[in-house]
Each structure stands twice: as structure tokens, then as C-alpha cells.
């Protein structure tokens, strides 16, 4: 949390007006949802499946280096599409309105070791409701890192650049552990909690299936290409993990993003909730291809305001949202991917060390928090 509150210039009425304006944007998109949107997600799903099929097919001959390269690249992209534009967004209920039981948040399962059910709880419910609230939103550093001055420093944080790097490489496992709240639940008292054990078992099952598919069955099917295929699927998973990790880091970690204290959300109004989402998220700028490959999480701000609007609509929503940022004189944190990734990593490094001087809260901020 910065000492100076960047929303201090807004009156309570202005914040509620802002909320109404955002509601109007939301209503407009909902009223306009239709055939074109449905055709979009069906096309993306079908393209992803075809790409995966073809890539896996090519990898059967991955003993030949060009086949290895093409197959690995294709599979990496297919896995990214599955997790980002398809899985993440369907699991948010963005496509539930189509009433197609096959493209629905209650039935979808993704190519990821965390079962969708568990991910939906920790992501949709906890992270999206309590975005950037210290102590409530574990996405702030995933419980292994310190990403804001207001989080208490511990010698463990000295290693956080390394933890972050390892987390990036094995991101899907990191997410599974995170969804299980392993850190908290491995304590002696909680370990035997039947509910935790059932969830851990479900994760175990999912991991077994995923590992068996990528590292046993497909390599075996490749016969003489066993080892190259094994290397290819490992690489594709690695690429997907590092890519998703980078994109997701850009959502809330770059400089300029605000975090909030637990008591600041007590009795939060709809307008205040919207404002917190606006100040707690950051975008990535870039081409349409870039937005697509990030699963439109490049429009993280819009996604956090309207997590259940179809992802293909975020680009048009962004124009209107940005205009509101300007109208209310708020900072719209955005930038190209390399810049945002760098900014996030710099923070990870900087905060691995304790704060330089004890932080002093301005009286203004104190008062405001009490009022809220």
C-alpha cells in the first residue's frame, strides 16, 4: 500500500456514480451477448482440439528434429489456449449463459493438475472477491512471497526470487498446492482433516492422470520416438507454465497496483468494490494475438471488474473502462508484456529484503480507513 491513497480525491458519491457507470457497461454487454459470441468460443475450442490432435500426431515422429520442433510448438500453444482463453474463462462462468452443458463452469475440466472444482473456489471465490486484500487474498505472493511493503518481512523471503522462478517452471503444481492451501493444511492438526484429505486425493488423481498421459502414454505411443516425445511434452508444459505465470504476475504485481487492508473492505459498497478491482489490477498492452494468448487476461482490469463477461468482449469494454479511469483521474496501470514482467520481477527482488525504513502512515490515510 502506498502512503498516498490514489483514490483520496474521490467523494463517496463519485465512487457510487462510478459503480453505476460500470454497471451500465456490464448491462450493455449482457444485453448484446449472442450468436457471434457463442460461435467465437466454439471456434476457439474446436481450433484448440485440432491443434492438439495434430501436434500430438506430429510428435509420434519426434525422433526427427523438425517434427519435434513443430509438434512441441503446437502442443505448447494448444496447452496455453486450453488453460487461458478456454479453461480459465469457462470456469469463471463466462459462457454459462449459453446453457450448453459441454461448455459450462460446472462441467469443464482443464489440462492442468489442479481439479477445476478446487481452483474455482480459491480463484473465483477467494481471489476475485477479496482481490489484493492482505490476509484475505492469497494470490498476493501465493503465500510464498512478499509482494507489498505492508506484508511482514521474514528471512524466508530472501529466497523469493528463486521460489518465484521455481514456481514459474512448475506453475500448475504450484497452483494445485495453493488451491489445497498446503502450507496451512500440512500442519499436524490439519493434516488428517477428512475434507482436506478428500481434496488432496482428488488432486493426486488428477496429477496421476495428467502425468500418465503426458509422460507415459503419449511417449509409449510414439515407439522409437519415446524420449523425444517425453522431452516434447515436458517442454510444452514448461512453456505453458512459464507463460501463464508471467501473464498472471502482470495482473496484480507490477508497480502502481494497490493493495488493501483487511478492515478497509468492511461494509464495502458496490462502488468501492469496483474501485478496489480497478486499483488492484494491471493490464498488458499488445496485439490481438497477444490478448488471445493471454486468454484476455491482458485485460486484467476489465476481467476483475466483470469476471463473468465473455472474454472476447473485454477489448471493447476496455475502451469504456479506460475512459472512466480518465474521468475519475485514476491511474490505469498497463504496459507491454516485457515491461510489466520486468516490473513484477523487480518487485519480487526488491521485497525479498526488508523495507528500508519503517513505514509511516499518513494521518489522512488512517482517517480514511477508519471512515471506511
Amino acid at each position: 500500500m502506498t502512503a498516498i491513497d490514489p483514490t483520496a480525491h474521490l467523494t463517496a458519491e463519485q465512487i457510487e456514480e462510478l459503480g453505476r457507470e460500470l454497471d451500465a457497461i456490464r448491462d450493455e454487454v449482457i444485453a448484446g451477448r449472442g450468436e457471434k459470441d457463442a460461435a467465437y468460443i466454439r471456434k476457439v475450442i474446436s481450433a484448440q482440439r485440432k491443434l492438439e490432435l495434430v501436434s500430438r500426431g506430429v510428435l509420434l515422429f519426434s525422433i526427427f528434429p523438425p517434427a519435434w520442433l513443430i509438434g512441441t510448438a503446437g502442443l505448447s500453444v494448444a496447452k496455453i489456449m486450453d488453460n487461458m482463453e478456454i479453461g480459465h474463462n469457462i470456469l469463471h462462468g463466462q459462457w454459462d449463459w449459453m446453457r450448453d452443458p459441454k461448455i459450462h463452469s460446472t462441467t469443464w475440466e482443464w489440462d492442468h493438475v489442479s481439479p477445476s472444482e478446487q481452483w474455482k473456489h480459491s480463484h473465483n471465490e477467494l481471489h476475485h472477491t477479496y482481490t489484493n486484500v492482505i490476509g484475505k487474498d492469497n494470490d498476493l505472493g501465493y503465500g510464498i512471497m512478499r509482494v507489498d511493503e505492508d506484508q511482514r518481512w521474514h528471512p524466508f523471503h530472501l529466497g523469493q526470487p528463486l521460489w518465484n522462478f521455481i514456481n514459474a517452471c512448475f506453475f500448475e503444481y504450484g497452483i494445485a498446492a495453493y488451491d489445497l492451501e498446503l502450507g496451512k493444511n500440512l500442519h499436524k492438526r490439519r493434516r488428517n482433516n477428512p475434507e482436506f484429505r478428500a481434496r488432496a486425493k482428488a488432486v493426486g488423481r488428477k496429477i496421476r492422470k495428467q502425468v500418465l498421459k503426458d509422460y507415459v502414454i503419449h511417449p509409449l505411443l510414439s515407439g522409437p520416438s519415446f524420449l523425444p516425445t517425453l522431452a516434447a511434452t515436458f517442454t510444452a508444459n514448461l512453456v505453458r507454465n512459464i507463460w501463464s505465470h508471467s501473464v498472471i504476475m502482470c495482473g496484480h504485481f507490477p508497480e502502481g497496483v494497490q493493495v488493501f487492508e483487511r478492515r478497509s473492505i468492511k461494509g464495502e459498497t458496490r462502488g468501492q468494490w469496483y474501485l478496489r478491482q480497478m486499483m488492484g489490477s494491471a493490464n498488458i498492452s499488445g496485439s490481438r494475438a497477444m490478448h488471445f494468448m493471454t486468454g484476455n487476461l491482458s485485460h486484467q482490469i476489465e476481467h476483475h471488474l466483470f469476471p463473468d463477461l465473455p472474454s472476447n468482449r473485454y477489448a471493447e469494454v476496455a475502451v469504456k473502462v479506460r475512459a472512466l479511469f480518465e474521468k475519475y483521474e485514476l491511474e490505469y496501470v498497463t504496459g507491454p508484456l516485457p515491461k510489466q514482467v520486468f516490473s513484477a520481477w523487480r518487485k519480487v527482488f526488491r521485497l525479498s529484503l526488508p523495507n528500508r525504513k519503517p513505514k509511516v502512515k499518513t494521518p489522512d490515510r488512517e482517517q480514511e480507513l477508519v471512515a471506511a
Binding site: 449482457i30 492422470k209 463473468d308
Partner: protein
């Protein structure tokens, strides 16, 4: 090992290859109508019948089990991207050579699916199908004398029967506003010319509604006939009363297209059918709170409509989205977010 066991092993192995998807997810890309797939159909033609009615020719998937004349089929059509299910009578004969089936749809005012099918559906579109069902059918043994009493699109199941089996003595009384509103008019007149049917058309715009008392003069031996009646509720209610009065109720077979029309209001009686609890709810309290208050175990999450952790099937009635005011009516497969939905009239929540 038996071949069935072998096949199930092979399928298990395939599932390991495609996890977390299923082999069928990939097969559907190339062959959505194959045997073993979820039942679907492909629209092959849409043929206009009247100004507001059309016959939709459907090639059903391999899993189609066939129908009996007079039965209906539920179809799931994507209208403006939203899958909606409706039931339509099958109008094609039982064993059509080309394996296709037809339904004949009349566009009703504000009818989302009927207007879509009559005016916008294009050949090549996939639709979802259920197996045909319904007991509005002729008995195994052909009845000697039959009366068909129909109105409007109530003609459709009867047309399925007429095209399927030739009866020795069939009479039809059919009501429609104007001659050109009579669906299948040419075909009916051909049957009359071939002496396979005696037909009385009642044109309600000029003749007024059919007075059931007039039946004596239109079909003097109506009470001796096995009767199949299909049309608006008013006609069927009158018929049931008339047949009962004359002590021949068992000879009347009726088919109602729209059993209940949901009237959306403010609040209402909410039934949690799995728990067996019923409580009164106002139009402003989220159903999640209503359920919890009533001691029903409700799944919950963010409580503000963003996490989709509370979605629950709506089995009957209607609910209102508290954010947008949008009404959602119960249909098979419809799930609602209980944290941002309130009762809009009586409804049934599967909890």
C-alpha cells in the same frame, strides 16, 4: 475376453490418451451424428407451409430409435447463442425411406424458438434431440371410426398419424382463422379427394370459435368415434367436458402443447424439492438467503454473483436477476446463481 470387455478396455485406454477430455470430444469434431454420440440432428431443409409455419427436415443421429405416429420430440436449438429446448410433434411418417424426420413449427408471437425455426434456421445447423415420446398415438388395433378434432398447430401430431396409417373411416374437424392459415391444406384436400378423409374446416375469423355443441351437426356420430383432439387449452377443456357429459370420456384422447405458462411476479412460494421444504419469499431476497434461512444446505461462494459457486438447477417457476432484472424461467438444464436471484413467482429449486 469378450469383445464387449475388450472394447471397454480399449475405450479406457483412449480416455487415458485424451484426459481430461473424452474421446467423444474429439470424435464430435468430425462425426457429431455417429452411433454412440449424444443424440443430435442436422437440419437439412426448412420448407414453408403457411405465412407463419414451416416444416423442418431433420437428419437424426445414428442413435435415433424411431417414433410412433402422433409422438413429439424435444429439440435443443441455439437461439442467439442460448440453447433452448422445446417439444414439437413429429409430422413425418414412421418409416420414411430417407431416414429423415420432420417437425412442423408455427411461429407464435414472441416465441423465441418457433420464430427462429420458421424464419432463421439454416440447413446444416446441428440441433440437440431427445428420443421421441408421448402417448397421443393410435392403438395397435386400428379403430373402426375415428374423429380428429384439431385447431391451429394442433394439426401437427394428427398429420403424423394421417401420413402413417390409412384408416377406413376418418373424419376431421379442423379450426384455423382463415383458409390460408390451414397448415397442410393441399395435402388434406388431396386426402379428401381420394376419399381417405372427410374434412370440415372451421374458419374462426368468419365462422367464430367452434361451439362444441355444433359437433352433433358436423359429425352426428361423434360419440361413437375414437377421438384424438389437439389444440388450444380452451378447445380441449370444452371437449373434455362435452365427452364427459355424454359418458364417453374414455374415447377422447387429448394432447396439450403448453401445460403451464409461467407468470413472473414479485416473490412467491419457494420449494426446495430435494430437502422437501417450502417457504414464502419476497421479490428482493436472494434465494441463497431464503434457503439458508429455511435451514436448507445451500452451496455458496462470493455472495455477489461473481464466483458461480452457488449455481443450482431451477426446476420450475421463474426467478429474477437482482442486478439486471432479467427473468429466467425454468427449463431442463437451467442453472441459476442463487446469490443474485430472487423468486419471481412460485419456483422450485433443486436443493
Amino acid at each position: 475376453m469378450t469383445s464387449a470387455a475388450l472394447r471397454s478396455r480399449a475405450w479406457k485406454l483412449l480416455e487415458m490418451v485424451t484426459t481430461p477430455l473424452l474421446p467423444s470430444d474429439y470424435l464430435d469434431l468430425v462425426s457429431p451424428l455417429r452411433a454412440g454420440a449424444d443424440l443430435r440432428g442436422r437440419i437439412e431443409a426448412v420448407l414453408p407451409e403457411t405465412d407463419d409455419a414451416a416444416t423442418v427436415v431433420i437428419r437424426p443421429g445414428r442413435g435415433w430409435r424411431g417414433h410412433t405416429a402422433g409422438q413429439y420430440v424435444r429439440i435443443g436449438v441455439d437461439v442467439d447463442g442460448v440453447r433452448l429446448w422445446r417439444a414439437y410433434s413429429i409430422t413425418s411418417p414412421t418409416h420414411r425411406q430417407d431416414g429423415r424426420v420432420t417437425i412442423t413449427v408455427k411461429a407464435i408471437p414472441d416465441g423465441k424458438v418457433s420464430n427462429h425455426l420458421v424464419r432463421r434456421a439454416r440447413p446444416g445447423t446441428l440441433i440437440q434431440l431427445d428420443q421421441p415420446t408421448g402417448d397421443f398415438v393410435l392403438p395397435q388395433a386400428k379403430p373402426a371410426k375415428v374423429l380428429y378434432l384439431t385447431a391451429g398447430s394442433g394439426i401437427t401430431p394428427v398429420m403424423g398419424m394421417l401420413r402413417d396409417i390409412e384408416l377406413d373411416d376418418a373424419v376431421m374437424v379442423h379450426c384455423a382463422p382463415q383458409p390460408y392459415d390451414v397448415i397442410f391444406r393441399n395435402e388434406l384436400h388431396d386426402l379428401v379427394a381420394d376419399k381417405k378423409l372427410r374434412l370440415t374446416e372451421v374458419h374462426t375469423d368468419t365462422d367464430g370459435m367452434l361451439d362444441i355443441g355444433r359437433l352433433d351437426e358436423l359429425v352426428p356420430d361423434w360419440a361413437e368415434r375414437e377421438t384424438w383432439a389437439c389444440g388450444p387449452a380452451g378447445l380441449l377443456d370444452a371437449a373434455e367436458e362435452h365427452w364427459t357429459e355424454h359418458g364417453v370420456r374414455e374415447r377422447l384422447h387429448t394432447e396439450r402443447f403448453r401445460p403451464g405458462i409461467v407468470v413472473a411476479g414479485e416473490g412467491g412460494e419457494v420449494t426446495f424439492s430435494a430437502t422437501g421444504r417450502t417457504v414464502d419469499a419476497d421479490g428482493a431476497t436472494p434465494l441463497l438467503d431464503v434457503g439458508e434461512e429455511a435451514g436448507v444446505l445451500m452451496p455458496s461462494g462470493c455472495r455477489m454473483g461473481i464466483c458461480f459457486g452457488c449455481v443450482t438447477p431451477l426446476k420450475a417457476g421463474a426467478v429474477r436477476d437482482l442486478r439486471t432484472g432479467e427473468i429466467t424461467e425454468a427449463e431442463p438444464g437451467v442453472l441459476i446463481q442463487t446469490c443474485v436471484s430472487a423468486a419471481a413467482g412460485p419456483c422450485d429449486i433443486e436443493r
